[in-house]
Amino acid sequence: AQSVAQPEDQVKVAEGNPLTVKCTYSVSGNPYLFWYVQYPNRGLQFLLKYITGDNLVKGSYGFEAEFNKSQTSFHLKKPSALVSDSALYFCAVRDTDSWGKFQFGAGTQVVVTP
């Protein structure tokens, strides 16, 4: 079975500082990993994905994520956070046996202070 873990319920950073949101995964085969963001009263929005290739994946809104196979991690990063980045972030992994079945983490609330 596939799973992801987001060890932090909340991450708080000051605007302009780097932001990291952690995600670790467990899969039985090749991992297919995703990050989504959820703003209040809005649907989840796709940020980026890792399928294969370069370990550093670049996505929307200046976000990037680093895939680390040895540490089974897929941490989300942004070099300089904005107040508008304050939202709920979810890591997700696709099931290797059922391509449409995704397992989401519990989410990490990001708070960026002015």
Partner: protein, 115 residues
Amino acid sequence: GAGVSQTPSNKVTEKGKYVELRCDPISGHTALYWYRQSLGQGPEFLIYFQGTGAADDSGLPNDRFFAVRPEGSVSTLKIQRTERGDSAVYLCASSLGSGSFNEQFFGPGTRLTVL
């Protein structure tokens, strides 16, 4: 509209009643997904469709839950004999293609409250 739409946005019902939740995917998206999100948790997979058929319904919690997509576009999630524990936000998403790694586009959700 260009995005995934869900109706109603809010539904309040009484325990034991039947409810239907509707999802309109993005035009041309052949895959459609249903999730349930409880407060403080991530989306929980319920079922996904490829075209008209349910490709994986392993996430449906019990036989009170059922979903259809008769023409391969709009989908309806049906819940019979609702229970208070069914209260949650029900999310729908759609994506291109089968066997692809395309990202899912989510709707705003339907907030279901069972009194």
